[in-house]
Amino acid sequence: MSMTEQRSTSALLYLSGVTVSFDGFKALNNLSLLVEPGEMRAIIGPNGAGKTTMMDVVTGKTRPDEGEVVFDGRADLTKLDEADIATLGIGRKFQKPTVFENHTVRDNLLLALAGLRSWYRLLLATPTKAENDRLDEILSIIRMGPQQHMLGARLSHGQKQWLEIGMLLAQDPKLLLVDEPVAGMTDVETETTAQVLREINRTHSVVVVEHDMSFVRALGVKVTVLHEGSMLAEGSLDQVSADPRVVEVYLGR
């Protein structure tokens, strides 16, 4: 056990022997994974490899049947719910941009802003000067100052993506989980997104789940290959693509 503790203190995210089964089907099978502070990690794998289930376990949406999930060396994520885990500092970006459509851009950011979450304190709260300043700052970073009073529903797809990035900045998580960020994007947009993620990675740890190999190459980070709920290979993209087991999984047997 001492070895476990030692490892869990140095890693930002630590998964060990995680198993999740749905009606007998093992979505995750004895999965272990380590993400270091400040790291960006890409997770790839064919459909049904368990990528999204892994995200669900880390964010508290799904409880594992077995295994350990430790964040920041101390928090046992298997015992916490989504709200607790988000408060600890794990943010999640979904494949489809999900902004609050009936709220203005500024209110979207205000809702995401780290800090007040309890219902009884929000009843009487008004945004403080510090909060307003932070909102103005984020609005200028994502270049949406002029649109700040526009409703989320009226934004274009690209504007929604930017707003969501702004919301993540407002939430300021230690670890950011990003689910298939470039699905349905053009090549140019894919390249821009890779740049944005690298920029975010300067101050935040990031885990990206992705199908798109050219995008993973553009990120240029350590890659973990999942297959049938377990880790198949790990290393640079060139290393794992040279691995015969990975080739077999991706190209069929």
Binding site: A83, D84, T87, T98, H103, R117, S118, L123, M167
Partner: protein, 372 residues
């Protein structure tokens, strides 16, 4: 701090609307009391009673809208909270009858004498005091909402499943209150009320005050709802309605938000029911019937879901239509209700208030285009 809280949600439209509600609640009773019956401005007692009833329904509609329109919880059992508040008031009114009942028992209400009760059941104690009944009017519906909401929201029961649970709740209460051994009057319920706070419930003055009280309560509920909806809590609440899991991943404990509005809304419905009972003079288990709750949802849909003014307007329109049609063409009413539901769903997804906003923006764009 509280005044700032209450003031923050008051937009210009809401302020005017609250004043309108209060004006109705003051002018109509005064016209009833001060004008001679021959005058054209005289408001007959039956009309006053009708308006008082509609005002209570409007409070119920506002309560439904708070959970459905602003939090996305489609409740199909809100009439149960209304009826529970009504029963609490009914128990007080029964105790006020005293020895003037048919059997002349100073303690036991008539139905208990008839059913051979020897002494007052434990839960009837305290209801001879108005203040106790008034507290219970709020506490009983709130506790039921708290218990139901606690389990349902923590277990993440949402959507149609939650609607079914609320519908089952009101149906279960309907069956329970029909039983004679509940000690609450069985299927006859409670009626033949004499006094409220020492004044005869039949007297014109009492009716006028009850009508005014209903308007005042509705106005207060509008102000409270406006404050809740206009606060940062309200922003989080509508965000929960639109994207619940997104809010969880942002770190919000969604259950707390839902539970608070659900309990607040149940308490509002309870108070509305308590004001309704002395005005109609009877409370019986049929108030729990599932159709009542569904009708309340319809009022909100007709008026405009997710607005504060809409449910009040919807409650007045639909109930006026009901009063008129059940008098003029009684067999048509249910068909009209069904047709209304279909028409609103198809043509007025945002209700009458939404239609008004649509007309205004259309007018504005036409005006903007005209000079060009």
């Amino acid at each position: 701090m509280i005044t700032r809280f209450l003031w923050q949600g008051m937009g210009r439209n809401l302020r005017l609307f609250v004043l309108l509600v209060l004006a109705i609640g003051i002018v109509l009773p005064l016209l009833n009391l001060l004008m001679p019956p021959a005058s054209a401005l005289y408001v007959p007692a039956w009309a006053l009673q009708l308006v008082g009833k509609y005002l209570c329904f409007a409070s119920l509609a506002l309560a439904v809208d708070l959970v459905w329109g602003y939090c996305g919880i489609l409740t199909l059992g809100h009439a149960a909270f209304f009826a529970l508040g009504g029963y609490c008031m009914g128990m007080y009114l029964m105790r006020q009858i005293g020895s003037r009942g048919v059997y002349g028992n100073p303690i036991l209400p008539d139905f208990m004498v008839f059913l051979n009760y020897k002494e007052l059941p434990w839960f009837w104690h305290g209801f001879d005091q108005f203040w106790f009944a008034a507290i219970m009017v709020v506490v009983v519906p709130s506790l039921l909402a708290l218990a139901l909401g606690w389990f349902a929201f923590r277990s993440r029961v949402t959507g149609v499943y939650l609607s079914i649970i609320t519908q089952a709740m009101t149906f279960a209460l309907l069956l329970a209150f029909f039983r004679n051994d509940m000690g609450l009057g069985g299927n006859n319920g409670m009626t033949d009320f004499k006094d409220i706070l020492g004044f005869s419930v039949q007297a014109d003055g009492t009716r006028a005050v009850l009508c005014f009280a209903s308007a005042l309560v509705l106005a207060i509920f509008l102000v409270i709802s406006g404050a809740v909806v206009g606060s940062r809590f309200g922003k989080a609440l509508t965000a929960v309605r639109d994207a619940e899991s997104r809010m969880r991943f942002l770190g919000y404990r969604v259950e707390g938000y839902k539970l608070f509005v659900f309990v607040l809304s149940a308490a509002m419905a309870g108070v509305a029911g308590a004001l309704y009972v002395p005005q109609v003079g009877i409370i019986n288990p049929s108030e729990f019937s599932p159709g009542n709750s569904i009708e309340a949802v319809l009022w909100v849909a007709v008026g405009g879901r997710g607005t504060l003014i809409g449910p009040v307007i919807g409650a007045f329109i639909v109930n006026f239509g009901k009063t008129w049609l059940t008098g003029a063409l009684p067999e048509v009413w249910l068909f009209a209700l069904g047709a209304l539901f279909i028409a609103v769903t198809l043509f007025l997804p945002k209700g009458v208030v939404g239609l008004w906003a649509q007309i205004r923006t259309r007018g504005a764009t036409r005006k903007a285009r005209a000079p060009a």
